[in-house]
């Protein structure tokens, strides 16, 4: 078995463990055997089944989808921009989504149901502005231009968000949960609104796997092989924008996951081939977020803490350990 196959198998095992833990653990502990029974439709009824079915399952599924989406978004962006610092943050999406969410929290608290939509729309708007600037003038569509336009847009929206919070300091506490990133039990309803964006982003990403491998050999080789480097970068940006905006709209700002997870799977698997990195980032991202969310719910149960910091606490040591060994 090759190293990448082993790592992928290990990631799948981690995903399984994290999923079962997420379903079993919480304020009330449900035995794993009962969790498995409920999943396969053989639950024994009672409160355990209800907890798993209506509280933990939607939340776990949401964690898995959001984690996978951010992992994929980071993987395609790092591949397309050829920049190790690329993450969903650098195309402005998280900045825009944060502003869209805080706008609702601060100015329209009565319409809090609109938060996911607002975050989604402002996230996509920020990405659209980044691409509009990066694809104009000389050297259009170059990786450097995308990254610089993205950082500028991120700063702009972050400043606007900070301005809003400074103007309405009393609303800041309710904004923290979104900014730090957090999942809720309203998983099914959230997903009902945003699943088409996840699906569209996923489909575009799947079609990008091979073009991204071509691009990894340079713009010239990609062009020799009949691909258009700028079109690949634009496609990757669109996929990442859709996935990240959808993720941010239901789980807040977790862009860090998209930065770290692809690096971790690349370093662990010893290859940057996208046929491995993209699916492995999806599995790794899902496992990491499900595990972090389980911690966030259980450490001080029944108090729920934002998942973002826990994800960082789990992910950063692994990242630094691998980085130390990387060439």
């Amino acid at each position: 078995m090759t190293r990448r196959t082993l790592v992928f198998a290990a990631l799948l095992a981690a995903l399984l463990v994290a999923t079962l833990a997420s379903l079993a653990l919480g304020a009330v502990k449900v035995p794993v055997s009962e969790v498995v029974n409920v999943i396969f439709g053989n639950g024994h009824g009672g409160p355990d089944q209800k907890i798993v079915e209506s509280l933990r399952l939607p939340r776990t599924v949401e964690a898995l989808i959001v984690g996978a989406a951010l992992g994929i978004a980071g993987a395609v962006l790092q591949g397309a921009l050829g920049n190790p610092l690329a993450s969903p943050d650098v195309i402005g999406v998280t900045g825009g989504a944060g502003f869209g969410a805080i706008l609702i929290i601060v100015l329209f608290p009565g319409s809090i149901a609109l938060l996911p939509l607002s975050a989604l729309l402002f996230g996509l708007l920020a990405a659209a502005l980044v691409f509009a600037f990066a694809w104009s003038g000389r050297n259009r569509g170059s990786a450097t231009k995308v990254v610089l336009a993205g950082i500028a847009m991120l700063s702009l929206f972050t400043a606007a968000t900070t301005g809003l919070l400074a103007a309405y300091p009393d609303k800041a506490p309710s904004a923290i949960f979104f900014i730090a990133g957090g999942l809720t039990t309203s998983g099914w309803e959230d997903l009902e609104t945003v699943w088409p964006y996840f699906a569209a982003g996923l489909i575009v990403a799947a079609f990008l796997i091979r073009p991204l491998d071509r691009l990894s050999l340079g713009d010239d080789v990609a062009a020799s092989l009949g691909s258009r480097p700028q079109a690949i970068r634009l496609g990757a940006g669109i996929a990442a924008a859709l996935l990240t905006a959808a993720a941010a709209s239901i789980a807040g700002l977790l862009g860090f996951l998209g930065l770290v997870v692809p690096h971790v799977v690349r370093m662990a698997g010893g290859t940057s081939s996208h046929a491995y990195v993209v699916p492995a980032s999806a599995v790794g991202g899902a496992a990491l977020l499900a595990a972090a969310d389980t911690l966030a719910r259980t450490l001080r149960a029944p108090v729920e803490m934002p998942v973002g910091p826990f994800m960082v606490v789990l992910g950063v040591p692994l990242f630094l350990w691998l980085l130390r060994k990387a060439v």
């Binding site: 799947a206 079609f207 990894s216 080789v221 092989l225 009949g226 010893g270 940057s272 081939s273």
Partner: protein
């Protein structure tokens, strides 16, 4: 010339390229026939690489006409373009952990449908390209562990996996030592002997005159001469284009460039001038 009705493999006329307001090429011409090895030579900044990039559809083209087997370059896209010509850049980036076979397989991916899988024929083409380029000895090694000469062969193998009738190599030997240069030159010559058309940008005039069927001289954004090496690379042209007091000599397929590196060296004996084969 026979076969008048069959258009040349590549015919480029009046090629103009403007990059960022600077006119790099104007009125460049290039005609390539099947199975020949064509060397493109010229001073630094003359527009050699810009010309091959433009005709290959890899770099910008601002004016003029480029036809591949009679078809306009602008009308050829995607996988079809990959089957028309392969472009081998001077040096490609090296993604971490990707080995030679994977890289050559990426070269083959140009022939696949967007989500299509490799067929047995595709794998055979990858194996064939690896063998033909002489890289099977290190086919399972990571790109990042290879020497410059080995990498250049891998790049050629990636181009061969496209199975296009034309291979365009942009300065394939400019960063190689003597031995590796000989190896790559020999590989390109043998590919041409097998029927592949090869266009190569080179700086080394002795090398160009030894391996090329024809040379094209690019200077000041124009193609100023084309023909057999002996006819084109005359002492007068070396003086005009490169500002060098120099001449080429050829003996039994061995070539040398005799250069007056410093002022005051005596003139060469006339019989040493390059001779037509």
């Amino acid at each position: 010339m026979a076969g008048r009705q069959e258009p040349p493999l590549l015919e480029a006329e009046g090629v103009a390229v403007e990059i960022g307001g600077a006119q790099i090429l104007r009125e460049a011409e290039l005609t390539v026939e099947r199975g020949e090895l064509l060397a493109i030579v010229g001073p630094n900044g003359a527009g050699k690489s810009t010309l091959v990039r433009a005709v290959a559809g890899v770099g910008p083209l601002s004016g003029g006409s480029v036809r591949w087997s009679g078809r306009s370059l602008g009308g050829i896209r995607g996988r079809e373009l990959a089957r028309v010509r392969a472009f081998v850049p001077q040096r490609m980036p090296l993604p971490a952990g990707v080995d030679v076979r994977e890289a050559v397989t990426i070269g083959r991916s140009a022939q696949l449908r967007p989500l299509g899988r490799l067929t047995g024929a595709d794998r055979a083409a990858v194996d064939g390209a690896i063998e033909r380029a002489g890289v099977e000895r290190f086919a399972e090694r990571a790109l990042t562990t290879l020497s410059g000469g080995e990498l250049q062969r891998v790049q050629i193998a990636i181009g061969l996996a496209q199975e296009a009738p034309v291979l365009i190599a942009d300065e394939p030997t400019s960063q190689l030592d003597l031995g590796a240069t000989i190896g790559v030159a020999g590989l390109l010559r043998s590919l041409a002997a097998d029927g592949l058309t090869v266009i190569v940008v080179v700086h080394d005039l002795a090398l160009a005159s030894a391996v090329a069927d024809r040379v094209v001289v690019v200077a000041g954004g124009r193609t100023v001469a084309a023909g057999a090496p002996a006819q084109v690379l005359t002492p007068q042209r070396l003086a005009e284009v490169w500002g060098a007091e120099a001449h080429l000599s050829e003996h039994n397929g061995r070539t040398a460039l005799h250069v007056a590196w410093l002022p005051g060296t005596s003139a060469p004996p006339v019989e040493a001038d390059v001779r037509a084969p």
